[in-house]
């Protein structure tokens, strides 16, 4: 009985504002991906391969973004790579296939 009363008299969230919110979210996402060049997914995959040789890393720990940087000299493109390695386990040296290393080589 109470439910019936509620459904009859409770103000419903108006559907127009739901539409607006949903659109804002989906378009923010789509606009971000729109100008991205085709090579970004491949770049992201290769970065995961390379970084993965040193630390254990999941796909979602690397974010590659191409953004605009509004500087004094006008628009410049900014390639932003975020790699989250906090808490990632270091791979043991023996686990590194091919033995690539950075900055460790002595002349």
């Amino acid at each position: 009985m109470m439910n019936l009363f509620k459904s009859l008299f409770a103000p419903q969230r108006n559907s127009a504002s739901v539409a607006k919110e949903r659109l804002k979210i989906v378009l923010a996402h789509e606009r971000a991906g729109r100008d991205a060049p085709d090579f970004l997914p491949k770049l992201q995959k290769e970065l995961i391969d390379v970084v993965g040789r040193y630390v254990e890393i999941r796909d979602d720990m690397i974010r590659v973004n191409l953004g605009k940087n509004l500087g004094k000299a006008g628009d410049t493109s900014l390639l932003e790579i975020n790699i989250e390695i906090d808490g990632a386990k270091r791979r043991s040296v023996s686990g590194i296939a091919g033995g690539a290393s950075i900055g460790g080589a002595k002349a």
Binding site: N14, A16, R22, E30, R31
Partner: protein, 270 residues
């Protein structure tokens, strides 16, 4: 200097052809020499909306292919001397609209007309991209509804990146929002997004708001651009939009729900 105006939307069924016909007729009624071109190859309909379907002999593709010249294909409107219709072909060959051919025809039209209104097909395929490629200005026809707004956003992105102006690094295509099928009653009840909502999301200048109106179907039934019906709310709203397009300032009408006039209700006049 002639101006190429594309009427586009991404989504189908939002009122591109109705708006193309109304807008072109509105420009012609103000004394501008105007041609309206159907870019929807294979799905010709502008001729019906303009009421000249029985006068089509040659079409856009015939002219592009050199099988007819421009003046053989252009149909002069019987109601207004400034208005011409350029029908498209019913061919199923989707690639018949060759960009070089379209460019040549548009250049020729620029010599004769003040405004070249391009009625784009729906979608983001070849036909739609060809229709917007040469545009100087675009009118984005949008309904206050989620899928239409999303598709408009997509088309705005394509105008900004794939038009000739974008490719040549020229001044960008001038963008205008035309909100159609607006029902101020439903808006006031919270059942439909407001003009401000849609404008905030798309963030392009608002050219006009066309109210949902019985006169639009009546106009298409009889093959009369709705701007010839200066009594109807939709006709008046299109005239306002044309005036704004030409740089005039006009107050936005039909945005607030009309007070129901007792006599009108009594006599059932919409």
């Amino acid at each position: 200097m002639a101006k190429v105006v594309v009427i586009t939307s991404g989504k189908g069924g939002v009122g591109k052809t109705t708006s193309s016909a109304a807008f072109a007729a509105g420009l012609a009624l103000r004394g501008h020499r105007t041609v309206v071109i159907d870019f929807d190859v294979g799905l010709r309909n502008l001729d019906l909306i303009m009421g000249c379907e029985r006068r089509v002999v040659f079409d856009f593709i015939n002219v592009i292919n050199g099988d007819a010249n421009l003046n053989q294909a252009l149909i002069k409107d019987k109601r207004n001397d400034n208005l011409y219709v350029f029908p498209t072909s019913q061919t199923r060959d989707k690639d018949a609209l060759k960009r070089e051919g379209v460019e040549r025809v548009l250049e020729e039209l620029r010599q004769q007309f003040d405004y070249i209104v391009c009625d784009s097909p729906a979608g983001i395929e070849h036909g739609a991209v060809t229709a917007l490629y040469f545009a100087d200005a675009a009118i984005i026809v949008t309904n206050p509804e989620v899928s239409s707004v999303r598709d408009s956003d997509r088309i705005i992105g394509i105008l900004a990146s794939r038009s000739r102006r974008a490719e040549r690094n020229e001044a960008p295509v001038e963008l205008n929002l035309l909100l159609t099928r607006y029902d101020s009653g439903r808006v006031s009840r919270g059942e439909m997004m407001t003009v401000e909502d849609v404008q905030e999301i798309l963030s392009i200048p608002l050219l006009g708001v066309i109210p949902e109106s019985e006169s639009v179907l009546r106009a298409s039934n009889t093959g009369t651009p709705v701007t010839f019906d200066t009594e109807s709310p939709a006709g008046r709203a299109y005239h306002d939009a044309v005036a704004r397009f030409l740089g005039e300032t006009r107050e936005m009408r039909f945005v607030k729900p009309e007070r129901r006039n007792f006599l009108r209700v009594l006599f059932g006049k919409a």
